[in-house]
């Protein structure tokens, strides 16, 4: 579960997020939608502190994941990122073998011995619905895979370190329709075991896969409700205008 309380975020002098409070439940898929530059990706990247990598940024407010304040002084960023996995917009496998890509997180976090790693890699690839396609070529370069397979590999890589939460930043925007629907099915499966937050530009996608949807605009959370309600009967007119494609 992710609880955000009164989050403000700044790039230098520019305020990218304005007083955002919302709660994302466990075992649900929460989608963030909104026009480009609305702050939805920025907000997502707060959950595993990826914004720490950008110079001259500042956050205030409180962000709890599974009850822990992830921005407290005592919080450890590396173990947070083990707990909160991320899948990026463009598939970014490492220039290593398929096996080593999935094993990477286990190795850097010193999780388990050789046989455990072997087991875990297989489990993760199965969970990411990739095992059958790659089981005979685990030692081949990850770059031999298609874009959609690479993205599922990145999902397997994130699952391997046993996170509780998975963040997805437009995970299907660089993929073809078939690969996209595979990823969507996968998200639906993963929901049983993980908290999933997904940023998407694709409104149909949000409607198809998410339980709850947050609509962001100009750094504000305009509306946050059950996905069905959001798309059938939004409360605000601006939401209505956005999802019916009147601007974007």
């Amino acid at each position: 579960m992710i609880e955000a309380k009164n989050i403000n975020f700044y790039y230098g002098d520019f305020q990218a997020l304005k007083n955002i409070s919302m709660t994302m439940e466990s075992n649900t898929v929460t989608a963030f939608i909104g026009p480009s530059g609305c702050g939805k990706s920025t907000f997502l990247r707060l959950f595993n502190r990826m914004n720490d990598l950008i110079e001259d940024t500042r956050m205030d407010g409180e962000l709890l994941i599974d009850g822990k304040d992830i921005y407290s002084k005592s919080a450890d960023v590396d173990s947070l990122r083990q707990e909160v996995g991320m899948v990026f917009q463009k598939p970014n496998p490492f220039p290593k073998s398929i096996f080593e890509n999935v094993a990477y997180g286990l190795r850097v976090n010193n999780l388990g011995n050789k046989s455990f790693i072997q087991e875990r890699v297989e489990e993760s690839l199965k969970a990411a619905a990739l095992w059958d396609e790659v089981k005979d070529k685990l030692n081949k370069s990850a770059f031999d895979l298609s874009g959609g397979q690479q993205q599922r590999l990145c999902i397997a890589r994130a699952l391997a370190v046993a996170p509780s939460t998975i963040l997805m930043d437009e995970p299907a925007s660089a993929l073809d329709p078939v690969s996209t629907s595979k990823i969507e099915e996968l998200i639906h499966e993963l929901k049983k075991d993980y908290t999933i937050v997904i940023v998407t530009h694709n409104m149909q996608q949000a409607a198809r896969i998410s339980d709850k949807t947050g609509f962001f605009m100009l750094g504000e959370l305009v509306e946050y409700s059950d996905t069905d309600k959001m798309f059938m009967n939004p409360e605000k007119e601006v939401t209505q205008n956005y999802i019916t494609g009147r601007f974007g």
């Binding site: 991320m86 990477y104 190795r107 850097v108 370190v161």
Partner: protein, 285 residues
């Protein structure tokens, strides 16, 4: 319409002509050296000591000396250069200090090599009291190639996509782990390019070794890093300018040049093979 075509043909013809000229120049130099040098290059030439006022015998000690200097200078400059490039590219951010370091590195690269020779003599030979020695020569040559290694390493690191770094960090890896396990292995084939350039540079430079290591003639091979050594480029210089009988030692000079070129060629070949092997995983289809 006709005009466009004609000017296109003239331009293309000109480029082709200049390309051919450049290649012709290169091959005639190479051909000249091979033609003049091949006559003296034989087993004895490669494994023997110079004899009869350098008009006969071989160049074995100079080959050994050059190999020592290549290895010595790389042992010193390669780790130092790679680590400092990692610092400036991965850790230091984008402040003025880094810009300053980068500027100084570029300046260092454009200093004439004879100046390095003088500096090496002042610091390593005299001040630190290493004497004329392989150590002093290697350190001086190391300084000379340091900027090359730093620059190529920085370029290699810059070519590693940020998405790899983010992917690694997002899995809970530390920055050091990310650099060691993802960034460096990805960049390494390109870092080898710096190594290749450096080998060529070190093998061929004469000025930096003039006052720091090179011996006119040695009756035995060096046995420690504090010994002087002969080296191919300096030996070539000696053969060409200050032998007892210049006419008689001329073929020896060409032979030496040929061996020098071959050594550089072989080392480059070796490094490219290494580069190929290392970049096996980096290729996307």
């Amino acid at each position: 319409m006709m005009n466009k075509k004609i000017s296109q043909q003239i331009a293309f013809g000109t480029f082709k002509l200049f390309g051919v000229i450049v290649i012709a120049i290169l091959f005639s130099i190479l051909g000249f050296i091979i033609f003049n040098g091949i006559k003296v290059v034989n087993w004895e030439f490669l494994t023997g000591f110079p004899g009869e006022g350098m008009t006969s015998g071989g160049i074995f000690p100079a080959i050994v000396g050059t190999l020592y200097l290549v290895i010595g200078s790389l042992l010193f400059a390669f780790p130092l250069g790679v680590m400092s490039a990692i610092y400036t590219n991965e850790y230091a951010g984008k402040g003025w200090i880094v810009k300053f370091i980068r500027m100084m590195t570029n300046n260092l690269a454009s200093i004439p090599s004879i100046v390095f020779g003088l500096f090496g003599m002042a610091l390593f030979v005299n001040k630190l009291n290493f004497g004329d020695s392989i150590l002093a020569g290697s350190l001086t040559l190391g300084l000379l190639i340091l900027p090359v290694i730093i620059r190529t390493t920085e370029e290699a690191l810059k070519a590693v996509p940020d998405s790899y770094r983010q992917g690694s960090l997002a899995l809970g890896a530390t920055k050091l782990q990310t650099i060691r396990r993802v960034v460096l292995p990805t960049a390494f084939p390109n870092i080898i390019t710096g190594l290749i350039l450096s080998i060529g540079r070190v093998s061929g430079e004469t000025a930096p070794i003039l006052f720091t290591v090179a011996a006119y003639f040695l009756p035995k091979l060096p046995t420690s890093i504090f010994d002087q050594a002969m080296a191919l480029p300096y030996h070539l210089y000696v053969l060409a300018t200050s032998g007892t009988d210049l006419e008689a030692s001329r073929p020896m000079a060409y032979g030496t040049a040929l061996v020098l070129i071959l050594i550089v060629l072989i080392m480059n070949l070796f490094a490219s093979l290494l580069r190929k092997r290392l970049s096996k995983n980096n290729k996307s289809k």
